[in-house]
Amino acid sequence: MKQLFSLERKDVILLVCFTAAVFAGPILMKPLGAGYPDLLQKFAIFGIFALGFNILFGLTGYLSFGHAAFLGVGSYTAVWTFKLLSMNPVPAIIFATVIGGLFSAVIGFISLRRTGIYFSILTLAFAQMSYNLAYSVLTPITNGETGLQLNQADPRVLDIAFGRDYGAVLPSSDLFGIDMTGWPGFYFCATMLIICFFIALRIFRSPFGMMLRAIKSNQNRMMYTGFNTRPYALAAFVISGMYAGLAGGLMAVTDPLAGAERMQWTASGEVVLMTILGGAGTLLGPVIGAGAIKYFENIFSAYNDGILQEAFSFLPEGLQHVFVSVSSLFVGEGWHLTLGALFMLIVIFLPGGLMEGIRRIQVLISNRFGSGGGGADAKSNPAPAE
């Protein structure tokens, strides 16, 4: 047990800094205009999603294009738990994680028989299949296009058993009496994020994580050495599926509604982008990537022509017009254009993501200002920054 929680000193520092940064999020993000719970909840939830995806993609190199399916399954499970058992978020996220894990075990068991692009397409096929089914045949479970919602007439067996009656109002989830909207909701998600980060940290530092990295660098050699790699890859797949399920469950906790559009393959593409943007295979990268994407999505899609006109009002009339019309392509409705362009730029120029960029800058600075000492340090320790 002691072994399980023991960390090296720099990892303890990392974890403490991370925890502090997450809990101080409301204060830190305030100057950036993001200091309100709805957005910060999103940061945390997608951070969990990307962390989990990174355990699969960053460590083993298997590019899954179907992770949104697990997110969707998690959401549906959580809402059903709310409906049937209790409005308490704890059972909801436990069930969401477990069902997400089971679902990913089934899909992973089949998909992992293939590697490379075949694996990507198999996962994509499964995700599209789930999405299509959620819209058509499974309507009794998923409520189709409307999305699964809470109802006053839901049984909520446990709540009734413990004598909680919500009466005629539509309940929202609450943790032993603390309403899970607003700030408490954020702190709940943030706690989950930190727990998930800790688990990911443990995986990264463990022999198991080393095994996953070995799969990425040369699977054939692993097999020649006598390792059966599939159980390891499957374990990574299931873990990332559980992360996705948990993220989906948390989405339902903060807003008890589940729709099939969460399972569409563009949603899977989004988590890939978050991971790549932050830096696949690094610990902090995916969380930063998820935060950055959700932040810019929020900022950019709120812009409209009026705000742009103000922003460029220092320019002469004609020039202002040109600037406004060009940049209005990229904001508001056109946010996806920015996303696509960003995607391309990152993959082309910075395949290692933001963390790689930070590391490069560090090396640059230490080479320039440190009198050889910093440079030598960077050379002797080529592991990516984390």
């Binding site: 075949y118 599209q128 563009t266």
Partner: protein, 342 residues
């Protein structure tokens, strides 16, 4: 029997579109070794070539006729397309046949787009891992799609087929069924024949020309061809252009069947990738065969009799088949050994 036959017909036009896109994907993959997630976007851009051509041909001169009054007391506006003013009957013909005419326009445009894409972006990714190829082309697809959306809007834009081809053909009579049993929209048949023609042309090009021979040799062993002193990169650039043209033509001709909107490419892309995988990565024949096969199977799965037994099967049949094929025959129906097996 004729219901059965009708379902095969139903599947063929969609299968034609799948086959054309999958063919382009396979050519690109076989020659350049690049997984092109932007191929669906090329299909979509072809479709919007048709939209643009129709819009341009439909530009009208408006003049007011003071001798006639509308019910609101304003002069009647007489709109006359410029092409009709200039070319008379030929102009009317052009307007009516805007979709077939757009092929002539789409061809050079798509060739240009394809070549520009290869030179500007794809060629830097030959040596990169497949994951990065997938990601960068995925990003490109989003960008292209959003640009089209910002120009043409988000709603589907219906494109009429030419008047002649708008009706139904009583197809059954000519092959021995009673009249009225196998009635089928003419344009869908035309699309099927068109896709066969394009597929035939591509195969003939690869099989019977020197250029095609070099390309096939390059698909088999790129390095040796390079050592023989042939500038294989330049040929492959043109091959990419051709693949873009095939996708573009497929899109342009498909517009009367499905009104184009900006995300039609993505919808087709996912299916086409499944088609390529089922057919076998790198096998041209496999891609075409799998395209038609999956199109037909999909239309069978959407029959009411089948749906009564297996509800929802029409939604997932293609993915289900892909899963089964990949597990039973990992290389796809006609896949070659040694392609994408690391």
């Amino acid at each position: 029997m004729d219901a059965f036959f009708l379902q095969i017909l139903n599947g063929l036009d969609k299968g034609g579109a799948y086959a054309l896109i999958a063919l382009g994907l396979t050519i690109i993959f076989g020659t350049l070794g690049v997984v092109n997630f932007a191929h669906g976007a090329l299909f979509m851009m072809g479709a919007f070539c048709a939209v643009t051509v129709k819009a341009l041909l439909g530009l009208e001169s408006v003049r007011e006729d003071p001798t006639q009054m509308t019910a609101w007391g304003t002069p009647v506006e007489i709109r006359e397309p410029y092409v009709e003013t200039w070319f008379g009957d030929f102009g009317t013909f052009l307007l009516d046949f805007s979709v077939p005419v757009s092929i002539l326009v789409a061809l050079p445009i798509m060739l240009f787009i394809g070549i520009a894409m290869e030179r500007g972006l794809i060629r830097y990714f030959y040596k990169r891992p497949h994951a990065e190829q997938i990601l960068v082309t995925f990003g490109l697809a989003i960008v292209l799609q959003e640009i089209v959306k910002s120009i043409f809007g988000a709603n589907p834009i219906p494109q009429p087929a030419p008047d002649v081809a708008r009706g139904m053909i009583d197809f059954g009579v000519s092959i021995g069924f009673d009249a009225g049993n196998v009635v089928y929209p003419a344009w869908r048949l035309i699309y099927f024949l068109f896709s066969l023609a394009v597929i035939g042309a591509v195969f003939a090009f690869l099989q019977f020309t020197t250029f095609g021979m070099v390309v096939r040799a390059g698909m088999a062993d790129r390095e040796t061809v390079g050592l023989l002193g042939i500038d294989i990169d330049r040929r492959f650039t043109i091959v990419f252009g051709i693949a873009a043209v095939v996708a573009g033509l497929a899109g342009a001709m498909y517009t009367p069947i499905l009104s184009p909107d900006y995300h039609m490419g993505m919808d087709f892309l996912v299916l086409s990738f499944v088609v390529v995988v089922v057919g076998g990565m790198g096998s041209l024949g496999g891609a075409v065969a799998a395209g038609f096969l999956l199109g037909v199977l999909q239309s069978f799965a959407s029959m009411n009799e089948v749906k009564a037994i297996l509800p929802g099967i029409d939604q997932i049949i293609i993915y289900l088949i892909a899963v089964v094929i990949l597990l039973v025959r990992p290389r796809g129906l006609m896949g070659r050994k040694g392609v994408m097996e690391h």
